[in-house]
């Protein structure tokens, strides 16, 4: 079980955080990573447009229009990319090996850590690059402690 890296993309498509946990993917310069995040942001928006059937409305009665979700899982022969988009538009991209189980749980936990150590940090400006030591430490601890 290998988690390669985590990227956080803000709602405007800018890369605000990236961390590599395990080698195995090509090492990209920070410029390339920014391009990658921006491209993914655009592609994510297009994948929402492509939905062939109307979105199934949930069972709960509500008046909000149901929106199609964008790309959630991308599979390739060497890795799998999971995307979790929060309600505010921030995207968490977790790149794992193709057979990694329970990615949903990992990504939810990462979101929790983000809420705890980044959003509750009084010195953090929203939509700006994340430089929080505690977030880095908690993330490393969480990913590396997984069996």
């Amino acid at each position: 079980m290998v988690v390669f890296s985590l990227l956080v993309v803000n709602k405007a498509g800018g890369l605000v955080f990236n961390r590599e946990f395990h080698t195995g993917l090509a090492t990209l310069s920070s410029n390339d990573l920014l391009i990658l995040a921006g491209t993914f942001h655009g592609v994510h928006a297009i994948t929402r447009q492509l939905a062939p059937a109307p979105v199934q409305p949930p069972n709960t009665p509500q008046n909000f229009p149901v929106r199609a979700s964008g790309l959630e899982v991308l599979e390739s022969s060497h890795f799998r990319l999971n995307c979790f988009q929060t309600i505010t538009g921030t995207k968490f991209l977790l790149i794992t090996e193709p057979a990694q189980p329970n990615v949903e749980i990992i990504i939810r936990r990462v979101y929790e850590l983000y809420a705890d150590f980044v959003m509750k940090n009084p010195f953090y400006t929203v939509e700006m690059p994340i430089r929080c030591q505690k977030f880095d430490a908690a993330l490393d601890h969480f990913i590396k402690s997984r069996p």
Binding site: D32, Q49, A51, P65, E75, F79
Partner: protein
Amino acid sequence: MVVYSFHIFDRHAECIYSKRWHQAPGFSSMKSDRPRSGEILAANGDAPANKTLSREDDAKLIFGVVFSLRNMASRLGGDDNSFLCYRTKEYKLHYYETLTRMKFVMITDTKTNNLQLILHQIWATLYVEYVVKNPLSPAEHAGGVGVANELFESALERFVTTMLV
């Protein structure tokens, strides 16, 4: 399993064949020209999630997506890494590329397993047999000339219906 659509793109990024199967009523081609209450409601809120797109627009968007994702996959995972498929909550898109850079794309529902083999079969047993080996078909299919012949279409139709069972 539901197959929504199937597209073939040649190496010049042109859509040379596209076919749709299940399209939910009230969507795209089956849309009536009178506005319905749902649309007005959507127009009052933010942009509707499912805008009506013509077939050509759809094909262009699909090509743009698979091209970007393919580049992304090879940049992250090295040159020998190939992009296989992606999934959203509503559909799943399968991708297969031949050595000649022909791109085969199939959009299905989300419960479908990997369709690499199926797309490879479509290329090997249908496309090669009925399009490439057709002496009357041109080498380049600009505008889809030569691809949409009767044999290929009926064989594809049969192939997809047997695949669904």
